[in-house]
Point group: C2
Chain length 498, copies 2
C-alpha cells in the first residue's frame, strides 16, 4: 500500500471509532431524556456491550501498523501529521491499558458514583473516603501505564486538555487569584444590590419560545440539532446532530435561559467542526478548556452584554408583559449580572465561579503530590472556601461532597472551566479589536460576524493545535488571565460602582 | 474449560451481540422520532459503523470454538441445546457470508429503497425492475452461501420464521383462500353498511389520553416502555425498554387506536420475555409470525370484541361527548368492524388483509421458481388482485409498487402476517376453551388472565420451539386456518348477516 492509501485507511477507521463514540453519546442523551424508569440496568448493559465493541475497534492491530508506517513517513503534510498524532494518542490509550485494569476501573467508577451519591445524601464523607482514595490510586496507575510516571496529575490534565500541565495552570491561576479575590470583596461590599425577585412566575411555554428565538438567532442550527428537557442541562453530539437540554423553572427563568445559551456555545462549536473530517484531528474539538471557552463566551461576554439586551429586552417584555412591567431596564440588567459568593459551584456567578475552580485545582495538586490525605480533604476544603470565598461550608454536602467529578475518577477536569473563562475573555478582546462595533451588531440581533470569526479561527481548526498554541495563533499573544480580569472589572466595576 | 464454563461464556457473548442489536434498534427508533432533518447521512454512517462492530463480535472465532465444544456434548439440557442451536444459526449467518457480499448487499439494499421510493412517486415500475431483479439475485446468492441451494425461497421464509417453509405455507394458504374468498364476497354483497363518518374530529389530546388508558389496561408497562409519535407506527426494543409509536389523525381516530393496540401486542411480547435470558434463545421472540400472532390477537380478537367495547365505550363517550353523541352503540361497533376490499394492504380490514398476503406469497413463489419474470410482475399483480379482491389497481402505485419490503430484499416476510392471523385465532379459541368467561373479563376491564396465559405459554418460551411446534404445544393441535375462518365467520357473519 502507498502511504496515501494507508492514510485513507487510517482516517476511515478513526472516523468509524469516533462514530461508535457518538452512538454511546446518543444513548447517554436518551438515558437522560427518554429512558423508561425501569430500563436503567438494561441501558448500562447496552453501554457496556458498546464500550467493548468500541474498544475492540480502537485497539485493532491494523491501526498500529498504519500508524507506524505513517510516523516513519517524512512527507506528511502538517494536517496529516496532526491526524496521525491524535490517532496515536488514542491508540496508545486503547492498547496500553491492561484489559483487566480497564474493567476494574469501570466497575470502580460505577461504585464510586453510587458511594458519592449516598455520601452526599447523608452528608457522610467518611463512607466515601476509601472509595475516593481508590479512585486516586486508579488514576495514578492509569497515568503510569501510559508513561506519565512522576507526572500523574499532568496526565489527568492532559487527558482533558491536550498540551496543558499543572505547572502552566498554577502560574495562570496564581495571577488570576491575586486580582480576583479583591474584586470579589469589593463587589461584596458594594451598596448596589440586584433585585432577587426581578423575574418571577414566567410560564414555561413563553420561556420555551423566547429561548428558542434567542438560541436560533445566535446561530444554533435546529436543522442539525434539537433542545429537550432533562434534570441537568447538557450538550452532546456533533456535526449534523447536536442535542442540548435545559430545564424550566417558573421562578428562575434566567437559569434556563443562560444555561441554554451556555449549551448553545458548546453546540455552535460542534456544529462548526469540519463535516468532512468529523472524528479525525481535523474535525474534533481541541479539548475541554477550548470547549468551555466557546460556551462561556456566548453565555457571558455576549449574553450578559448591554448590546445583547438592547436586542432581546423588548422581545422579553413582549412575551411576558405582566411579569416584566414592574422591572426597569437597569434592574433587569443588574439581575442578569448578579454577583454574590455562594458555597455551590454550579450556582456561582461568572466572577466567583473562578474561585471555586482555583480551590479544586489547589486541592487536586496536593492530593496527587501526597501532601494532602483524602481523609483530610473536608477540613482542607473548608479552610480554602473561607480563604477564597469568605464562606465556610456548614457541612460537607455543601463542601467537598458537592461535585460528581471525582466520584468517577475525573481528576484534572475542573481547571478546564476556568481556563475556558480566560480564553473566552481573551478571544472577546481580540474580536473587539477586529470588530469594534460588535455590541452594535448584537443590538441589531446580528451575531453572524462573531460566529463566522469563531468558525474560521476555532471551530474549523479542530484539534490541529493545543489550547495554548490555538490561543496564541488566534489572539497573537500567550494565554493570560489579564483579559478575564479586565473584562470582569469593566463589566462589574461599572455595575457595582467599585 | 469445563463445558458449563464454556456455556456461560457463550451465553454471555451472545447476549452482548444481542445488546448491540438493540442499540441499532434504538438508533432506528430515534431516527423516526427525534432525528434532526439534517442528520440523516450522519445517522446512516453511525449505523454502518455499529453494524461493522456488531458483525465483528458476531463472527468472533471464539464463538465458533465454544459452539463446536458444546455441540459435541451429549449432556446438554434441552434449554441449553435450544440456545446452542440458535447461536449456531446466527454464527453461521455472520461467518458464511463473504464480507464483500454483505457490503454489496447493504449498498444494494439502500439503492433499492431509493429506487422504489422514486418509482412509486412516479408510478414508474420500469425504472425499478432492474433493481428488483438484482435484489432477487442477491437473495438467492445469500441462500446458496448458507447452504439452501435449490430451496432459496424456503431460506427467505426460514429467515423470518425459523422452521417454516413455502410448502407448509402453500397448503395452509390454499385452505384459507378456499373459504375466505366466498366470505369476502358475501360481506361485500351484504345490505349492512358501516357509517364511514361515525367518529370525526376527535382532538388529539383526548385520543392520547384514551389510547394511553387502553394500552395501560391491556398490560403495557410504561415503566419499561413508552409511546411516541412517528410517521408510520411501529414497535421496537425489548425487555425493560420497549418503544411504540403511533400517529394521530382527528378524522381517523380508530387508525391510531387500533394501530397502537397492535403495537401493544408486539410490546407485551417483548416485555414478557425472560429478562435473565434476553438475547439467547430463551429470551428472544420465536419469529415474525409468532410476533404477529401477538399483535393481531390484541388488535383483533380482543379489541374488536363486544366485551372490550362494553368496557371502553363509556369511557370513549366520556372523553368525546360531543363527537359520540350522534353515534349509537351498534353503529360504533359496526364502524370498528368495517369490512371492505381495498387495493392497499396497510389499509385493509382483518378479513381481506389475508387475501393481500396470499397474493404476495403466490407471486414470490413464482418469482423464486423462475416461472414469473420481474418485468411481468405488474400484470401478474393486477390479475391476482382482480381474482382475489375483485379489484384491479388502476396503476402500479396502488398495485405492485405499494409495499417497501421487496425494495430492500425482504422476500419471504409477507407470509408472517397471515400466519400470525391464523395463530392468533387458534390461540384465541384455546384461551376461550380454558377460560370461557374471557369476554366478561374484558367487559370488566380485566385482561390479566389472557396476558398471564400468553406470558407463560408464548412469551416466556422464547425461541425454544419453532412456530409450528409452539402452536402444537399451546393449542394441542397443528396450525390450521380453520380457526381463523371460524373466527371471521362468527364475528362478521353476525354483523353483516351473511
Amino acid at each position: 500500500m502507498t502511504n496515501s492509501k494507508v492514510y485513507a485507511e487510517l482516517t476511515d477507521w478513526v472516523k468509524r471509532v469516533h462514530l461508535l463514540g457518538t452512538v454511546a453519546e446518543l444513548m447517554g442523551w436518551d438515558e437522560q431524556v427518554n429512558l423508561p424508569p425501569g430500563a436503567a440496568d438494561q441501558r448500562a448493559a447496552q453501554q457496556a456491550a458498546l464500550a467493548g465493541a468500541t474498544h475492540a475497534a480502537a485497539s485493532d492491530p491494523r491501526l498500529g501498523a498504519w500508524l507506524a508506517a505513517l510516523e516513519a513517513d517524512g512527507a506528511l503534510t502538517p494536517d496529516q501529521r496532526a491526524v496521525v498524532k491524535v490517532a496515536r494518542r488514542d491508540y496508545d490509550r486503547a492498547t496500553k491499558l491492561p484489559p483487566d485494569f480497564v474493567r476494574e476501573k469501570a466497575a470502580q467508577s460505577s461504585r464510586g458514583y453510587h458511594a458519592w451519591a449516598r455520601a452526599k445524601a447523608h452528608n457522610d464523607f467518611a463512607s466515601y473516603a476509601p472509595v475516593l482514595a481508590q479512585n486516586l490510586e486508579f488514576a495514578k496507575r492509569e497515568a503510569r501505564y501510559l508513561g506519565w510516571e512522576g507526572r500523574e496529575y499532568d496526565y489527568m490534565i492532559d487527558k482533558h486538555d491536550p498540551g496543558m500541565s499543572a505547572g502552566v495552570i498554577a502560574k495562570l491561576f496564581a495571577e488570576l487569584k491575586r486580582d480576583l479575590v479583591p474584586l470579589v470583596r469589593a463587589i461584596g461590599a458594594s451598596p448596589v444590590k440586584p433585585r432577587g425577585d426581578a423575574l418571577q412566575g414566567l410560564p414555561v411555554e413563553g420561556q420555551r419560545t423566547f429561548l428558542r428565538e434567542v438560541t436560533e438567532r445566535l446561530g444554533f442550527d435546529y436543522q442539525c440539532g434539537r433542545i429537550d428537557v432533562s434534570l441537568h442541562p447538557f450538550c452532546t453530539g456533533t456535526g449534523a446532530d447536536v442535542r442540548m437540554t435545559t430545564r424550566f423553572k417558573e421562578h428562575e427563568p434566567l437559569d434556563s435561559l443562560f444555561s441554554s445559551i451556555h449549551e448553545t456555545g458548546h453546540g455552535l462549536y460542534e456544529q462548526g467542526l469540519a463535516k468532512e473530517h468529523l472524528g479525525t484531528a481535523l474535525g474534533i474539538h481541541a479539548g475541554m478548556a477550548v470547549h468551555e471557552s466557546q460556551s462561556r463566551l456566548w453565555e457571558n461576554q455576549v449574553a450578559r452584554s448591554r448590546g445583547f439586551w438592547r436586542c432581546f429586552e423588548p422581545r422579553l417584555r413582549e412575551v411576558f408583559p405582566a411579569q416584566t412591567a414592574k422591572v426597569s431596564s437597569d434592574e433587569l440588567y443588574l439581575a442578569i449580572n448578579t454577583v454574590a459568593p455562594t458555597l455551590i459551584r454550579v450556582d456561582a456567578d461568572e466572577v466567583t465561579y473562578n474561585l471555586h475552580i482555583i480551590l479544586r485545582f489547589e486541592l487536586e495538586q496536593r492530593l496527587f503530590s501526597g501532601q494532602l490525605a483524602v481523609t483530610d480533604l473536608p477540613a482542607a476544603w473548608k479552610a480554602a472556601a473561607q480563604e477564597l470565598l469568605g464562606l465556610t461550608p456548614p457541612n460537607d454536602r455543601e463542601g467537598v461532597l458537592q461535585d460528581v467529578h471525582w466520584s468517577d475518577g475525573a481528576f484534572g477536569y475542573f481547571p478546564s472551566y476556568c481556563l475556558g473563562n480566560m480564553m473566552a475573555a481573551q478571544l472577546w478582546y481580540r474580536a473587539l479589536a477586529l470588530r469594534p462595533t460588535l455590541e452594535e451588531d448584537f443590538a441589531r440581533g446580528d451575531f453572524r460576524w462573531l460566529l463566522g470569526w469563531l468558525r474560521e479561527n476555532i471551530h474549523l481548526q479542530g484539534r490541529r493545535y493545543d489550547m495554548l498554541e490555538l490561543t496564541r495563533r488566534v489572539t497573537g499573544e500567550d494565554l493570560s488571565p489579564k483579559h478575564l480580569i479586565r473584562y470582569l472589572r469593566e463589566r462589574y466595576g461599572v455595575l457595582y460602582r467599585v
